[in-house]
Amino acid sequence: MSSRNGAIIEVTGLTKRYGEVLAVDDISFDVIEGEVFGFLGPNGAGKTTTINMLTGLGRLDRGTVRIGGIECTQNPKAAQHLLGIVPDESNLYPELTGFENLSFCGALYGMRRSEREGRARDLLKVFGLTDAADRKFETYSKGMKRKLTFAAGIVHEPPILFLDEPTTRIDVASARQVRQIVSDLHRQGVTIFFTTHYIEEAERLCERIAFIVNGRIVKAERTSDLLQPVKGRNVLLLSVSGFGDDLRDAMTAAFPAYLFESVGRGQIRVESTDTINVAPLTRFLDERGIQVAEARRHLPSLEDIFVEVTGIEADLMKRDKERAGGGRGANS
C-alpha cells in the first residue's frame, strides 16, 4: 500500500489560508507505514487544520496529498475507507447507546450487521465499557465518552488512524488505557498519526515526531534522534532564597564544569555533562547565607528539545489546552 520510501501518507507543500491568516504554510512530510507519527505544536499551530485536510474535512489551498498510494488532492473521498479518525472532541450521537453508536459507525463504512455488531461487542470489552453498552451516550462520563469515541474510530479496522489529542481531559486511568491501546494497535501494524500537547506522551509512543509552530514544521526527526542532544546531559534544579548575576558569576568561577542559569523566582538550573555533586554546591551557597530549600535532579527530555526548538514553554501549552477544554488533563 505504501509508496515513496515506504510512506503511506505523503504530503507535499500543503498550504491553507483562512482570509489573512496563513494556518498551514507549505508543509511537507511523509508518514511511514506502520509507525506512530507524532504531530506536536501549541494551540493554533495548524495541527487540526492539517488533519482536516488529510482526512477530507478541509480543502487544500495548495499542495498534494497521497494516502495509501491514492492521490486525494482533488478527491478527498477516495482514500477515506483507509482512515480511522478520532477527533479531539467526542462527537458521537447522544441519543444512541454505546453499542448502537459503534454499530452505526461500522455501518458508515459498509460493514454488515453481524460483522459490525460482533466488532462493537469486542471493542466495548477492550475499552472496558461492556457494562455501559446499553446506556445512552449522553449519560457517559467524559472518560467513557472519549474511550467510545476512540472505539468508533477503529470499528472498521482502518490501516491508518488519526488520533487528535486522545488523552486530553480524561482521568489518569482512562488515559493509561488509551495509551495501552495505541501501543497495541501499533504492534498490529496500524499506522498512527498522533497529535498531543503532552510531550512526554509523544516521547513514549511516537517513533517520529514533527514540531509544528505557526503553520510551519520546524523540526521532524526520529524521536531517538531528537533526544540525542540531551542524552548524557545532567540537570539539577535548586530552590534558593535568592539568586542574582553576582552569585551566578561567583558560582561559575567556583564550579567551571557547570552551567548556571536562573529559571524563574528562586530557581537555579545547573547543567553539566559531568555528574553534579550537590553537597559542594549547597555548602557554597550556605557559606554566603543563601538557604537551599530543595535540590532536585531533572532528567532532560523531549520537552527540553521542544522548548529549545519552538521557544514555547511546554507547561504553558498544556495549561492552555486544558483551559480551552475546561477540564483537567491526565498524563501519568
Binding site: 462527537n91 455501518a107 458508515l108
Partner: protein, 245 residues
Amino acid sequence: MRRWIAFWNIFMKDVRTYYLKPPNISWGIIFPLAWTGMFFIRAGRGLESVPDLLPGVMTIAILFGTTSVLAVTVTFEKRQRSFDRLLLAPICLEVLMLAKTGGAVLFGIVNPLVPILIASFLADLSGVAWSLVVPAMLLIAIVSTFLGLFIAVSVSQVFEAQTFSNFFRFPMIFLCGLFLPIMDLPAYIRPLSYVLPLTYGVDILHGAVRGANIMPFAMDFAILGAFCLGLFSLSLRNINRKWIV
C-alpha cells in the same frame, strides 16, 4: 452494497432518533394538526368546503413537517459535530444527503395522512384522483425537504433554522394558492407566486381533489422536479463551500 448499508443506516437512525424530538412534535405535528382543525371547523362554509381546503391543509402539513425535521437532523448534528463523522465516512456527498433528507421526506409524506383521514370522515373523497395526489405529495415533500435543507445548511443553530424557515413557510401559505387562489391575488404579487415551488404542487392537488388546477399537470410536475434538482444542487454546493472549509 456498502453504500446502501450506509444509506439505510443513516436513514433509519434519523427516523428512530429525531422523529419525536420536541421541535418536530410542535412544528411538524401539533402545528399542522391545529391548522387542520382550525380550517375544517372554522371555515364557516359547511362540510362541503372540506375538499376546497384539503389541498392547502395537506401542503401545510408536508411543508412544516419536512422543514422541521431537517432543522434537527442537519443543523443539530452539525452543531454538535456528529455531522463531521458522516462527512469523514467514505460515502459520496450526494448519497449522504439523500440519506439525511430521506427521513424528512418520509415524515412529510406521513404527516398529510392525518388531514386526509379527518377529511374522509367529513366529506366524500371518492372523486379524488389519488394517482395524482400520491406523486404530488411525494414531490411536495421532496421540494419542501430540499428547501429545508437549503435553510439548514445556511444557519448554525436549530432555532435559527426554525426561524428562517418561517420566513419561507408563512409567505408561501398565502402566496402559493393554498387557501387563496392565485388569480385572486393582486396582479403585482402574482409573479412571486410563480417563483415559489409550492405553487405547482398545490395546483396539482387542487386539480386532483376538485379538478381546479390552473396549469397543465405535466408542467406542474416538470417545474416541481426542476425545483427539486435545483435546490438539492444548491444545498450540496453550500455544504461543500461552508462545511468542507
